[in-house]
């Protein structure tokens, strides 16, 4: 059921056409099925979150993007400069990036085109598809400012022709791993990927190494009626689904288009990745400390099958509904932000790689080969132990005469079956699979221990010689997950939630010791010269070093005082440190050297507190409150992991960036606000071609801001832009007064006829009858018919 949200209204013209929003015209009663409105109603719109689109560029001064455009989240890898503006050409090749960007962060209520899902997020673009895409290009693109950019969205991949097996090269793999390990200051960059888009070619997205990576969130699509789109590829690595385009009679997606336009023709799984990127931005706004795995857990937990039609929905042993078409189902923005708000970081990821099976096994045509591994989940090694599953990867080495004939399944100890590879009709390659990694999320939350079965089915296709057998040379089962239940609070990171373990009573008064029965045996080594009344250290009558405890808790002699106490040399007693203090040299708060676990020394008065004051963060190692970076007003875990900024700075991701006033831009290299060109109100750089919005008294013309329009342009309003623009006159017209046929002067070789330019050509068949026909049918006014001797006919009346 879609929840109805009666109160939200936007003046963006295409608002009611988005994501199949159902508004009945009588009131602003709107509802949409990914619960995006509900998330907005809870106040999440992507503020301070930084998203970038890896694609063919982004039109940074598009009226519906300019306000949210962030040049620090942008780069042009193809052109090796800071301006990701797409290359314009007559075939409109480079429209993709701008379309994707609009879905994420098109500005709301600016009376232009649509509204992005995170309509207050920072949006940038990395231009990297408009040129030779190599391993270097991809690695560079994925490695752009990982401490500033939170989410990378990519809607491209290897060919979807049903016969390609391709993925990230060595450099790009390293870039992924580095982004996961170090990005977002240790929380991990978030990579969202559009799953395959070649269903009709019988492709299978397990042969795409980007969507099959555990580091990427692979997103599928469904049509507005919940059907499987014609282009959809299935596979076991799909995490979740959003709406997108469908059959020819179903609607497509509305979004921003280059040349400041708006389109309702955006299609495919390209649509779905940015939608999820936007929804994750809402979740990050609700909880900036979500790690890359937290985000995946959230998607697993909140996505729902709802009315998505698929015949392979199944419930795995952890109770998750999952399908090869739609992963865990349709994303739910409201559920994401609600869960994110109260989310506890999941325990660290463990990786357990079961010993590879290296026995060569023949795969008989027309038969199935089954091999099993009895997995312990590395329970014998605590650092590797995986008990609760997340991703499962099977790495195979298969030699085969016709790869497309193979189908591969994996069955978990709990009996859940996941299809890692389906037959591919067009794949006649004889290269087999060389250490290819198939990944599945279908066992998410299941327990790892037990027998895993790999099933390889070889269907003999017509053109193949049955005598030539394939064989499985090697396969390795790699389990990712946690050693404890990810949803139960666990010690380490959540220590804040643990109260002080040792109550801090006031000092007990000295009490006389009671007499004991006579004891003649040896005393404990810590007993002093007064002897003892028993063998243990708590039987001493006096101590060599120190006495610890009280009559109530029992006194004993110790060589060193326990934590929370200091050694009072004079009285040879262990005395308590100040409340919360673990090591101290005296009783007072200023004598504290270090605090108990979960408490931190407050630098201001060296007391032990569990929450550091504003401007300080709790350093786990030193157990001290350390100062935040000087631009941060609040920070978490690290000095530069800001969650709020000082005056004059604004938060982007976890970085405080100077709020450059209008007319200036933040120059990253110089780390200062530098002036824009005088013609710019806002800009992405110092040049006059880098204006984002024009200054007062200037008009925007293509990529510049000019005081008067140049020949061939006329000045006019532009929707969603607070200043006038120069619009291009009609083709072949040098000066005009407005849109349509308002030309007053033509280019050379054209003549002006009824305020439009016609090719300057006379013709030889303009006899009377013909001209009559031309004039009577007013053909000259239709562009298509102008070549019918209009000039000649009109010239002679």
């Amino acid at each position: 059921h879609a929840q109805s949200h009666a109160t939200i209204h936007f003046n963006d013209p295409k608002w009611t056409n988005m994501w199949y929003i159902h508004c009945n015209n009588k009131s602003s009663h709107c509802s949409a099925d990914m619960n995006i409105l509900a998330a907005w109603q809870r106040g999440y719109t992507g503020k301070n979150v930084v998203v970038t689109i890896l694609d063919d560029g982004i039109e940074r001064n598009h009226p519906d993007l300019a306000q949210n455009y962030d040049h620090l989240a942008s780069y042009d890898v193809n052109g090796n400069d800071h301006d990701p503006t797409p290359r314009y050409d007559s075939r409109n090749e480079n429209i993709h990036g701008t379309r994707c960007a609009g879905e994420v962060a098109a500005v709301a209520n600016n009376s232009h085109c649509i509204i992005g899902i995170a309509y207050n997020a920072h949006i940038g673009g990395i231009r990297m598809l408009d040129g030779d895409v190599t391993d270097i290009v991809e690695a560079k693109s994925l490695g752009i400012r990982p401490d500033y950019i939170d989410i990378y969205s990519a809607s491209w991949g290897p060919k979807d022709d049903g016969k390609t097996v391709d993925g990230p090269g060595p450099l790009t793999k390293q870039a992924f791993e580095q982004g996961i390990r170090k990005g977002r200051k240790g929380l991990g960059s978030i990579f969202v990927w559009a799953s395959g888009n070649g269903g009709r070619q019988g492709d299978h997205c397990s042969c795409d190494g980007y969507t099959s990576s555990i580091y990427t969130i692979s997103i599928s699509s469904t049509t507005e009626n919940g059907n499987k789109p014609w282009y959809l590829e299935v596979c076991s690595s799909i995490m979740a689904t959003t709406y997108s385009s469908g059959e020819f009679n179903e609607r497509k997606i509305v979004t921003t288009d280059p040349r400041h336009r708006c389109t309702d023709g955006h299609t495919g799984t390209s649509v779905s990745a940015p939608i999820v990127a936007g929804i994750i931005a809402l979740a990050l706004e609700a909880n900036l400390l979500l790690t890359w795995r937290d985000v995946q857990h959230l998607l697993v937990k909140t996505s729902r099958p709802v009315h998505l039609k698929a015949d392979d929905w199944k419930t795995n042993a952890a109770g998750h509904r999952v399908s090869h078409l739609y992963g865990f189902g349709l994303v739910d923005a409201e559920a994401m932000v609600l869960e994110a708000r109260k989310w506890r970081t999941v325990p660290p990821q463990h990786t357990c790689s079961q010993m590879p099976e290296r026995r060569t096994r023949y795969i008989h045509a027309g038969q199935s080969l089954n091999c099993s591994i009895n997995a312990s989940g590395c329970s014998e090694e605590p650092e590797l132990h995986v008990d609760y599953l997340e991703h499962v990867v099977v790495k195979v080495q298969i030699v085969h005469p016709r790869r497309g004939d193979l189908e591969i399944n994996l069955i978990s100890p709990a009996g859940t079956r996941s299809q890692l590879l389906a037959k591919r009709l067009f794949d006649s390659s004889n290269e087999g699979f060389r250490n290819w990694e198939f990944m599945t999320v279908h066992f998410w939350g299941e327990r790892s221990q037990g027998t895993w079965t790999l099933e390889i089915i070889d269907s003999l296709s017509k053109l193949r010689n049955p005598e030539v057998l394939g064989n499985l040379k090697e396969w390795t089962l790699i389990l990712y997950g946690t050693s404890q239940d990810p949803y139960q609070p666990y010690s380490a990171q959540n220590s804040h939630s643990r109260m002080l373990e040792i109550p801090a009573p006031e000092e007990e008064p000295e009490q006389e010791e009671e007499e004991e029965d006579q004891y003649n045996g040896p005393c404990h080594s810590e007993c002093g010269d007064q002897g003892c009344d028993g063998p243990d250290a708590d039987h001493c009558l006096n101590c060599v070093h120190f006495s610890s405890g009280s009559l109530k808790s029992g006194k004993t002699c110790v060589s060193h005082c326990p934590l929370g106490h200091y050694e009072d040399i004079a009285s040879r007693r262990c005395r308590r440190c100040y409340k919360g203090c673990e090591r101290c040299v005296g009783r007072s708060v200023s004598d504290c050297l270090s605090c108990r676990r979960g408490l931190y020394v407050n630098a201001l008065n060296s007391s032990c507190i569990d929450t550091c004051p504003p401007g300080y963060f709790a350093d786990e190692n030193q157990r001290q409150c350390l100062k935040c970076h000087d631009t941060c007003m609040r920070c978490l875990g690290y000095a530069d992991r800001c969650t709020a900024c000082r005056e004059g700075y604004s938060l982007a991701g976890m970085t405080c960036v100077p709020e450059c006033t209008n007319g200036t831009f933040f120059h990253l290299e110089e780390m200062t606000c530098s002036p824009c060109h005088s013609s710019c109100r806002t800009c992405a750089g110092p040049g006059k071609e880098e204006c984002i919005q024009c200054a007062e008294g200037y008009l925007q013309q293509e990529w510049q801001c000019v005081q008067t329009c140049t020949p061939g342009y006329y000045s006019g309003e532009a929707a969603g832009v607070p200043y006038k623009m120069c619009h291009r006159c009609e083709e072949n017209c040098l000066s005009c007064s407005g849109p349509g046929t308002t030309c007053t002067k033509c280019k050379e070789g054209y003549s002006l006829v009824s305020r439009t330019c016609i090719v300057y050509a006379s013709c030889n068949n303009a006899d009377e009858v013909f001209c009559e026909m031309v004039k009577s049918n007013r053909l000259c006014e239709k562009k298509l018919y102008r070549q019918f001797c209009c000039r000649t006919c009109l010239m002679n009346g």
Binding site: D132, T134, D135, A139, W156, P158, G169, Q178, G196, N197
Partner: protein, 89 residues
């Protein structure tokens, strides 16, 4: 190693892993006639070399004096870059 495959298009760009910092990389680049275009993103010790004496796109990895970079002991790893067909979805 040179990535090879059917229908591949070889470019005149190389990815190289050299320890010892930018200067060392520049030295080796000059030795074989490459231009060092700098580190590849945040990948330490990985550099982007350009070889102007090799045609921009070729169906085969053309050999020449520049190929000796693969044998240089100072070079841990080198790969001529191949155009990867990428489609929008």
């Amino acid at each position: 190693s040179v990535a090879s495959g059917h229908g591949d298009v070889f470019t005149n760009h190389w990815a190289v892993r050299i320890t010892g910092g930018q200067e060392q990389a520049d030295k080796i680049a000059a030795k074989y006639g490459y231009i060092n275009l700098g580190q590849i993103g945040r990948l330490e010790d990985h550099y982007h070399f350009h070889q102007s004496r090799v045609v921009r796109r070729a169906a085969y990895p053309l050999k020449g004096p520049h190929s000796f970079i693969h044998l240089d002991p100072e070079v841990d790893w080198a790969q001529q870059q191949v155009v990867k067909p990428r489609v929008k979805r």
